[in-house]
């Protein structure tokens, strides 16, 4: 029983990282219709930046915040290249993000090398009903809940959130009312970069990060985002947590080598489910 609880909590922690990466993809896709495959790179960049900033003597908190800001800046940069030219089709932008994610490898290896890095998180361990886990997991879960509540408020209660949603649902009408659609797209990339960066900063204390760790994050994050149809943050959170727990259970009771396969199977199942729902949704609209 205590093993199960431990797997659940560690799974939720890992799932939060997927949910944050996935939520960044959702924010960007909601506004621009672009699937951003550079999303995992923001996490790696922020994680590696944090390790460097902490090594230079910056205190915890400041280093992590700066790294998340670097993630946001990287998101803005990717956005400028991917959608900066008005009229770029989302498919072309997707390929650009994929290319930039690969290019990021070269930059990261050049600056940080190819050895895994980590840094300390919240110290200590917590015992709950016989299960023992690192206290850092509580920070991951708490920060993720805060992020998703903030996202819900942003999209439902603020004018900027409404404008972001408007750009996604009818870009022409958004232009009619004077919303700068390209600028809103760039804002979504910056927010996506910050969310990816936060995922990297939170996950590194429990997971060694190398330059190519983005693949793990992007597969998990994409699977979570697909469950939310690439537009619903709440379902993305559920998808990320489900995936994290499933991977933890597979690693705990089975073989950790199959964790990636779990993500791929979940993503496939979510895609089949989405495809099966599509005709019904179309009938509703008609």
């Amino acid at each position: 029983m205590s093993d199960l609880l431990q797997y659940l909590i560690t799974g939720l922690g890992g799932g939060c990282a997927f949910a944050l990466v996935g939520s960044g993809m959702v924010v960007i896709h909601r506004v621009t219709r672009v699937v951003n495959f550079a999303q995992g790179s923001f996490a790696v960049l922020a994680a590696l930046t944090t390790s460097t900033l902490l090594a230079t003597g910056l205190p915890h908190g400041v280093a992590e915040l700066l790294a998340v800001a670097v993630g946001a800046g990287a998101g803005l940069l990717v956005g400028l290249v991917a959608i900066g030219k008005p009229g770029t089709p989302p498919g072309a932008s997707l390929i650009i993000t994929l290319g930039l994610a690969v290019a990021a490898y070269a930059v990261e290896v050049l600056i940080w090398g190819d050895q895994p890095r980590s840094f300390a998180g919240v110290p200590g361990a917590v015992e709950l009903a016989g299960a023992r886990f690192q206290a850092h997991y509580l920070l991951i879960i708490g920060a993720t809940v805060a992020v998703f509540v903030t996202l819900a408020i942003l999209f439902a209660r603020t004018d900027v959130g409404r404008a972001l949603s408007a750009c996604a649902s009818n870009p022409y009408a958004a232009k009619v009312v004077g919303i700068n659609v390209t600028r809103m797209g760039l804002l979504s990339f910056a927010v996506g970069g910050a969310l990816g960066g936060l995922a990297g900063v939170l996950v590194t204390p429990i997971q060694l990060v190398t330059f190519d760790y983005d693949v793990t994050l992007i597969v998990g994050g994409f699977a979570a985002a697909i469950l939310g149809g690439l537009v619903r943050p709440a379902l993305t959170l559920a998808g990320g947590l489900l995936l994290g727990v499933a991977q933890a259970l597979v690693a705990g009771y089975g073989n950790a080598a199959y964790q990636l396969e779990v993500a791929l199977v979940l993503m496939l199942a979510a895609m089949i489910w989405q495809a099966a729902r599509q005709p019904a949704a179309q009938r509703e609209v008609a």
Binding site: D159, R162, A163, S165, Y172, V176, V177, G178
Partner: protein, 217 residues
Amino acid sequence: MIEVRELTVRHGAAVALDRVDLTVAAGEMVALIGPNGAGKSTLADTLAGILRPAAGTVAVRGRLGYVPEGRQMFPDLTVDDNLRLGGWAIRNRTTAPVYDILPRLDPLRRRRAGSLSGGEQQMVAVGRALMARPEVLVVDELSLGLAPLVVADLARHLRELNTDGLAVLLVEQNARLALDLCGRGYVLEAGRVVATGTAADLAADPRVADAYLGAAR
């Protein structure tokens, strides 16, 4: 309020508008009629700043509100949110005056715009344009796809707004409606203004009557 001189707009290699002249004075209600594909919506989009002229000048004095063709709702947002976004450019978030002008929208304010009827959506589109506190309103295809009673209701609102001082350019395929509502008009064909004058003169012009008002007129 609107002064268009020698306006040329291209869609790629195709010329959509060819040296068009058009004016709308303060307090005026002007019709722009013509067949499908004549370039009417291109002119409306250019006035709203969505398309750029290839040549010529467009001068708009005062704020312009735009009701685009096809209503162009934000379907997942509520009526109230659609209205609030109408004031985005001037940071106007106060929707109460619009509900005063269009009271039928009041009970719908929490409804998703995508769930409304065509007439209700058109009213939201007009209300959204009014949120920009315009001095001139460009309405593209007010009557498109709507029942006659709904069109009559919308036309009444438009006439009241014009009586209150709002200049209106009504871009319409329904020439009879447009010439009944407006004091003056233009006829656009294949990107060119082919006739202009008072609504009465245009209605009496045999070419306009035959092409746009039906044989009975």
